[in-house]
Amino acid sequence: MKSKPVLIISIILLFFTGALCTGYYLYNKKPADLRNLKPDVIIECADLLDQFANDEQQADSVFMNRVIQVHGTVSGISTDPQGILSINLGDDQHVMMVSCEMTEEFQNASSGIETGSQVTVKGQCCGMLMDIILVKCILIN
């Protein structure tokens, strides 16, 4: 008879401990590592640029927040004042580029990439300013 209240209390304690641990995990969880995510869209750089140039609103509805895997020609490497590196993909047919802000893990690997080389990058699409912007990017090859 005594064991029943103990059992109930144990289950309740277990439940709350589980809830606390889950809450702690979710609270401190890092943003998604794109190495572990399948791309929502696989696309050529020129096609991505065309879609945004033709209809930005429509392109936002298709690509915004999605994990995009884009293949294209490196038109340059740029850094912000803090030294964060982006690989820019583009061609002579387009004024805009696809600007891929690389994650910390891929900063060094990206710095040696030559202009004119072909690369595939996976990143999260944020939309368009002067260029189409992908963040949290990783190199596929």
Binding site: L26, K30, P31, D80, Q82, V95, E101, G127, L129, M130
Partner: protein, 185 residues
């Protein structure tokens, strides 16, 4: 995107001779904000700000995509975009203004110039005038700009739930760090 930035870039590239451009731009400006308290660290950073500076007039435009702000924690990033900034509805923050004492800046002489910048800041669908100070450093070819200002979140209809009001400062501290390149190299 900001049509002004694209129009300015396209027009300047086509019409203005390279040696008389006087226009500078960046695609990789750095904007960070901090609205944490002693109870919680809340910091986000954006490495993809776009900006154009017209040295001849002091006109300045600056745009960021809200979704390009990066946070240390996924939940913070989600709440920032979905609950506070509503970035699906208001994807960009824009500043359009000018350097008030532009005539005191000698863009042909290397050095650091303290400037006053004023204009309209649009965040979360609300536009407010702001006035702030910054340092412009003229270098060989490029211009570095650094400055900061505070934004009262309620001025831009960004609501802080009472449950977390002790964790989120009602004023966000914004820091801008830009390296402008000449528009025509």
């Amino acid at each position: 995107m900001s049509n002004l930035i694209l129009t300015l870039l396209t027009t300047a590239t086509l019409l203005i001779p390279a040696d008389q451009a006087g226009k500078y731009f960046t695609r990789s400006g750095n904007v960070s904000f901090n609205c944490g308290t002693s109870l919680e660290k809340i910091e986000g950073v954006n490495h993809k700000a776009a900006s154009v500076l017209d040295a001849s007039t002091g006109q300045l435009e600056f745009t960021v995509l809200i979704k390009a702000f990066i946070f240390d924690r996924a939940l913070m990033e989600d709440h920032f975009n979905e609950n506070y900034m509503e970035s699906d509805k208001y994807p960009k923050a824009v500043f359009k203004g000018s350097i008030q004492n532009n005539s005191t800046v000698d863009y042909s002489k290397k050095g650091t110039y303290h400037v006053v910048v004023s204009g309209d800041l649009t965040i979360h669908g609300v536009t407010k005038p702001i006035r702030t100070e910054a340092d412009l450093t003229v270098m060989d070819k490029n211009i570095a700009a650094k400055g900061g200002f505070n934004v009262n979140l309620s001025d831009f209809n960004i609501e802080i739930p009472s449950l977390v009001k002790d964790k989120i400062d009602k004023e966000a501290k914004i820091v801008i760090d830009i390296l402008y390149e000449p528009l025509n190299k």
